[in-house]
C-alpha cells in the first residue's frame, strides 16, 4: 500500500449530495458527526465543497432535476474519489421505483460519465449510522 493510498484512508473528507432523498438518510448522515458517533475519530470530515472531497455521500434516487447536478458534482470532485450510495433509494430507487420523475439509481447516473467510478452501496431505509460507518470502513479496506 502506497503512502498516498494510506493518506486517503487516514483522512477521507466527505461531501454530502442530496439527489431527492426524503431527508431521513440525510439526518442519519448528520448523526455521524454528533458526539455519539464522532467520525472525526477516523479523520473523516464533512466539507462544504466537492472540490475538497474524497468521497461523495449520495442520498436519494436521483430525480430528473438532480441528475445533471449529480454528474456535475462528480466531475468537480478531484479523483481519486469514492461514491457512496446511501440508503435504499440511492442503491436502487427504493420505494420510489415506479416514480415518473426518478431517473436513477445513483450508480447508473455516475457510470454514464465514468464507467470506472468506485461506488459503494449502503442499503437501508434509512441505514443506521453504524451501517454507514461499516460501509465506509469496508470501502476503504477495498481500495
Amino acid at each position: 500500500m502506497g503512502l498516498s493510498t494510506k493518506a486517503v484512508k487516514k483522512s477521507p473528507w466527505v461531501f454530502h449530495v442530496n439527489t431527492g432523498a426524503c431527508n431521513n438518510c440525510d439526518i442519519e448522515i448528520v448523526d455521524l458527526l454528533t458526539p455519539r458517533f464522532d467520525v472525526e475519530r477516523f479523520g473523516i470530515k464533512l466539507v462544504g465543497s466537492p472540490r475538497h472531497a474524497d468521497a461523495l455521500l449520495v442520498t436519494g434516487g436521483v430525480t430528473a432535476q438532480a441528475a445533471p447536478r449529480l454528474r456535475e458534482v462528480y466531475r468537480q470532485t478531484p479523483k481519486p474519489c469514492v461514491v457512496f450510495a446511501i440508503g435504499a433509494c440511492a442503491c436502487g430507487k427504493g420505494i420510489f421505483t415506479t416514480g415518473y420523475h426518478m431517473v436513477g439509481p445513483v450508480d447508473k447516473i455516475i457510470r454514464e460519465i465514468d464507467p470506472d467510478a468506485i461506488i459503494a452501496y449502503v442499503p437501508g431505509c434509512p441505514p443506521k449510522p453504524e451501517a454507514i460507518i461499516s460501509g465506509v470502513v469496508k470501502a476503504l479496506a477495498a481500495i
Binding site: S4, K10, V47, G48, R51, D54, Q76, P78
Partner: protein, 314 residues
Amino acid sequence: MNNEMQVLFWILVFPGFVFTAVLGLLAAWIVRKVSALVQYRVGPPFLQPFWDVRKLLSKEVLIPQEANKWVFIGAPLVGLAGVLLLSTLLGVAAFWPQKTFVGDVIVAIYLMVLPSLALILGSSASASPHAAVGTAREMKLVMGYELPLVLAFIVVIIKSGGALGLAAIAETTPVASISGAVAFLVSLLCIHAKIGYVPFDMAEAETELGSGVLMEYSGGLLALWNLTSAMMLVALPMFLVVVYLGGFGTTPAGITIGLLKYVGVLVLIILIKNTNPRVRIDQAMRFFWIGCGLVLVTAIALATIGNIYDIGWL
C-alpha cells in the same frame, strides 16, 4: 557558516519553513482536539493534520474553466511566502536579537496582511459566485481589523519609548500596564480574525458559503492553503508573544517560559473559537472600528499620560 547559508537555514529550516510547518500542524491538531473535547467528542487522532496535507498533495488539482489560471495558482504561493517570511522574521528577532534591523516591526505588520491579500486574490480569480461573496467579506474583514491592530501597536510603541525594532520591543512587557493589557486583548481578537476562526469565519462560512474563499481550491493548492493557515497559527501568536508578552529570551529557561506564553495565547484563541457563534460581517466591522477603535483611543491616551508623567502601570 557564511552569511547566505545562515539566512537560507533561517528561512528553510529553523525558525522558517520546517519548524513552523511542523509546529503549525501540531497546533492545528491541538485546536481540533481541544474543540472536540469541549464538545464531548474524542476528536481526530494525533498527526491528523499531517495526513490531511499528505492526502491533498496526492489528489488531482482542478482549475475552474473560467478562472484566471496563473493568479489562481500563484496566490497560495504568495500567501505561503508571506507567512514564511513573517515567522522567520519573528523567530530571528526572538532567538538572534542582535541580527535584526530597525523597523522590522513595520515589515512584520505588512507581512501579516499578505496571506489575507493572497486569499482575496486567489478566490476572486476562481470565478465562483460563492467565493466572490467570501472575497467581499474577507476584504471588509481585513479593513475592519487592520485599523485596531495598528492602533494597538501605537500603544506598544509609546510604552517601549519609541522603539521600532522587534528585539527592542521584546525586551519590554507592555501587557503589564492597563493600556498595554487593553491593546493586547484587542490585538488577540484581530489575530483571531486574521486566522479566520469563529466568530470571525464569515469569509469561509462552511454552512452558508460552502467554503467561501477556498471553495474552488483542490488538491495540492488546497494543501498549500492548509499549510499557510497552520503556519499562521504559529506566526501570529508568536507575534503577540514577542510584541506584548516580553518575547522568548535566549536562555533555556526563557525559551521555556516563552513557549508557555505561546501555548497560553493558543489556548485563549481556542476558547474564544469554541464559545462564540459566527457574527455577521457588519457586526464584525462595527465591533472592530467603533468598539475596539474607541477603546484603543482611550488606551493610547492613557499610555501617553503614563509616558509623560512616568507612571508605569497606566
